[in-house]
Point group: C2
Chain length 525, copies 2
């Protein structure tokens, strides 16, 4: 039995996991025949999935809470038992989903892997809830750990809501009911948490967007495709115009590119090989033939662009470039289309078409650090104009124990060191994250904290020698030799739609009075 | 034989048509076995199509001119002969294309129709060139009229260039060679014309776009899809920003809509029924099924939008509208995609994707005239800012002898009278064109004359009660009744790409110094 300090984050996770067991026990007491899915702790709480006879109602949630309170008051102990695979299967004989997890391997280890969050390591363990008489009143396949007694869950818990969830998260699997709950060290903590939730709900950009008549998602157009109403369009226009003015002042030039291209381009860029699942299906232009059946025009697939980079590269390639031309900074508010699954869509923050405030910088290797420095200064300056104040950086690096990286050790070292210098020089809090880099280069992510303390990932600055290689980009160096530039991909708002949603929630719908559509040269902040 | 005054436009057309015959006679003298297509006069000249053994070279063009000069010097007479169908076929026995024209009907009248520009009316006529000895040296199926003698063509003619052309303009038909020529009353006229051509060539936006590094059409993306380089993007940005500021000051609000929509929307708008050939093919989202083959998501066709109107209508419909809300003026720089035939593409003026500076005004019937007045004042003011000075209007009206119009006589009368009042009130030159209206309403087109005297159709203001009817748009009138608004479609630049091309040619690439990207509030002119 473990000692647990529930005022520490790790301890809190254990507390919440134990609360999930208590909730599952309560559900099975109240709704006979309900089968168990999995039930992990999550951020700020926990959930448990159930295969029940009927949907849980709001009244059910109250009954479940009451029953949980009784269980907690009983002071049940959590008891850990290491079992063989056969014994585990025997004890879980009435739980088909647990048997499925156990049945996936012939030995304990692979069975444990199959069980994911519930079972870990080379042992299979079952946790029992034991009442004061010593009787095992409820059990679950689980790797633990748990609090010693249900008493520790105290009164600071709540069953929050029910939602649908596919078994093991896979569409096509049986749909289960997921009950979300939360648990905290003290009643005050729980109260504060519920207030934060209410505040977030009050600021929900989907609600505000509707109430303030800012944007909508007409059914006739299709899910995940937003239309912006006049008032939303006004604010978006101010945002775009301010950013545009800043970019022009910052030495960027704007380019314009189409929303579709022949498949060739995305074959050359690697998107069709590596990113096709995220792209919309092709537009197929039929082959054209004359009356005798001779082909007068080849058939051709076009695709909606999922990213702007390949088109900016074509502009780079339109003429010979000299070392004196670099850095080139091509900016575009480029609308891209991605085939997000309907289940993943969420207001303006996860959509099927969105506009990146995108730019691609083509730089000489000796310019890399200075350019990235400028970009980081630029983005912080720009985001401050919009009233954001708390920033931190994450440096995504390669790690050493995987073969998935391309490029020389020397390149990685110098590029990573350049980004580290920039991050340190910025004076912002910086975290290094090994293993999170793209396969071709390190990046810096910028996160902001909003008015109610939520952190959002916004801007990304990505070093990329890979696309210049694929497209054989060149410039003539001072000595006349042909050299390859490095690309920097960067989006500051990220997606204009998503950034608007974040600002809308940050300001709870009350955008500052100072924002004005006509004073574009000096407004925005 | 007709008397012809070649200093009048009609006479000049006759002169040019006669020159086309002389050119064809010269070609058949020089290149034995060459077969004749058709050879009409056109603006500023004429052409003739030939099925020749080999492509005409620049040297060939010079030889043809020399031979034409000889024919002209011979003073051949043009002689008209009315013939029966059989006789026409006998005389044209060596000309398969002429026989095809003649063979399309069993009687003279339909044969004449089949022959299009060459033969007209109930008679079939052949024109003969007759030399001084009275011999018919060359003949063509032709409705005439012609000048009395080749002498009248004098020295003021020229064979300009060769190009490919499908027989009868239809892809899949044999490809012929088209020789373009020109002819004028005097040598000075010819010289002035050639200077105008050289000036237009010097200003050709495709050439300037390349030389000044403004835009291009990368092969990898597909024909008719432009990318804008930094310098072109800079000017375009200034144009857009200036127009945007003016629109905001003029009471317009900006909306944003996606580039794709489910087929439903374009079915409702009528585009799929009436405009599908001009649309890009569908993007087909596959039906999704689970493991048991049950449909979990219906298949769905999406289309690139060919117009913005249906989406602006959805924004109108997003909430109830009152008479007090009108007029609503939704503006958008909306990029639309149209499946133009490759042969029709031309630089930035005819493309497959372009951005309309589009707006849709939703007005009460009693507001129609005042709103159209404002629009016409607005566009003239805006275009003057860009340095254009000569404007005229065309009022497209319904005519009375066709059943293709919808809507009451009363509606047509009042809408047409409203537009006429606006046009007259504008003080601009105005031409009324019966029969040119859309089937649902009259429109005003604005034409501008550029620095070298060329007229361009730019802005359109279209009255439309039809889409509000199709989408059942409503507003609540003062008396509480449900009323239908009228829409006004208007684009001022028309297409931003095309307008940029026109300005580029107007300024011969030298955009005014006053245009500046930062002073958006007061710049542009």
């Amino acid at each position: 039995m473990q000692r647990v300090d529930v005022s520490e984050p790790d301890g809190l996770d254990v507390l919440r996991h134990s609360a999930a067991h208590v909730m599952a026990q309560a559900v099975q007491q109240l709704f006979e025949g309900t089968k168990l899915g999995i039930g992990p702790y999550i951020r700020d709480g926990f959930y448990f999935d159930f295969d029940a006879q009927r949907p849980f109602t709001p009244d059910d949630l109250k009954s479940i809470e009451k029953t949980m309170q009784k269980i907690i008051n009983q002071g049940q102990r959590f008891e850990r038992e290491v079992v063989t695979l056969d014994e585990a299967k025997r004890q879980m004989a009435d739980e088909p989903y647990k048997l499925e997890l156990l049945g996936e391997g012939d030995d304990a280890e692979t069975a444990a892997e199959g069980a994911g969050v519930e079972v870990g390591g080379p042992e299979i363990t079952i946790y029992h809830n034991v009442d004061r008489s010593g009787e095992r009143v409820w059990s679950d396949l689980c790797r633990g750990p748990h609090v010693p007694s249900t008493k520790l869950i105290a009164n600071a818990f709540s069953v929050m809501r029910a939602a649908g969830a596919y078994w093991r998260g896979k569409e096509g699997n049986p749909q289960l009911q997921r009950l979300y709950g939360t648990a905290w060290p003290t009643k005050d903590d729980l109260k504060a948490y519920k207030e934060r939730l209410a505040e977030a709900e009050r600021r929900d950009h989907r609600r505000l967007g509707r109430e303030l008549d800012l944007f909508s998602f007409p059914e006739e157009i299709g899910s995940g495709l937003s239309v912006w109403h006049p008032k939303g369009g006004l604010v978006r226009g101010i945002m775009e115009q301010h950013a545009r003015t800043k970019h022009l002042q910052g030495g960027y030039t704007y380019v314009y590119t189409p929303h579709i291209s022949k498949a060739d381009l995305f074959a050359a860029s690697g998107h069709l090989a590596n990113y096709k699942d995220d792209m919309w299906p092709a537009i197929s232009m039929d082959e054209e033939t004359d009356e005798d059946g001779n082909v007068t025009k080849q058939g051709q697939d076009y695709y909606l662009k999922p990213m702007n980079c390949p088109m900016h590269i074509l502009i780079y390639k339109e003429r010979g470039r000299s070392y004196r031309d670099l850095p080139l900074r091509f900016a575009e508010n480029g609308t891209v289309y991605r085939n997000e699954r309907s289940g993943a869509l969420h207001g303006l923050t996860r959509v099927r078409g969105f506009t990146q405030d995108d730019a691609h910088l083509f730089v000489r290797p000796d310019q890399l650090e200075a350019e990235v420095t400028k970009v980081v200064e630029f983005v912080v300056d720009l985001l401050r104009d919009f009233g954001l104040e708390q920033f931190e950086l994450e440096l995504s690096m390669k790690d050493d124990d995987s073969g998935k990286w391309v490029g020389s050790e020397e390149y990685w070292e110098s590029a990573t060191q350049a980004l580290r210098n920039v991050a340190v020089g910025s004076g912002l809090k910086m975290t290094e994250i090994p293993g999170e880099a793209a396969f071709y280069g390190p990046k810096i992510d910028l996160k902001v904290t909003d008015a109610i303390g939520r952190r959002w990932q916004l801007s990304t600055v990505q070093v990329d020698p890979n696309l210049p290689e694929r497209f054989e980009l060149e410039y003539t160096a001072e000595d006349g030799s042909r050299q390859r530039p490095i690309m920097i991909h960067r989006a500051l708002f990220g997606s204009i739609e998503r950034f608007f949603a974040i600002l809308l929630e940050h300001y709870a719908g009350a955008f500052p009075h100072g924002w004005h559509p006509f004073r574009s040269g000096d407004s925005g902040g």
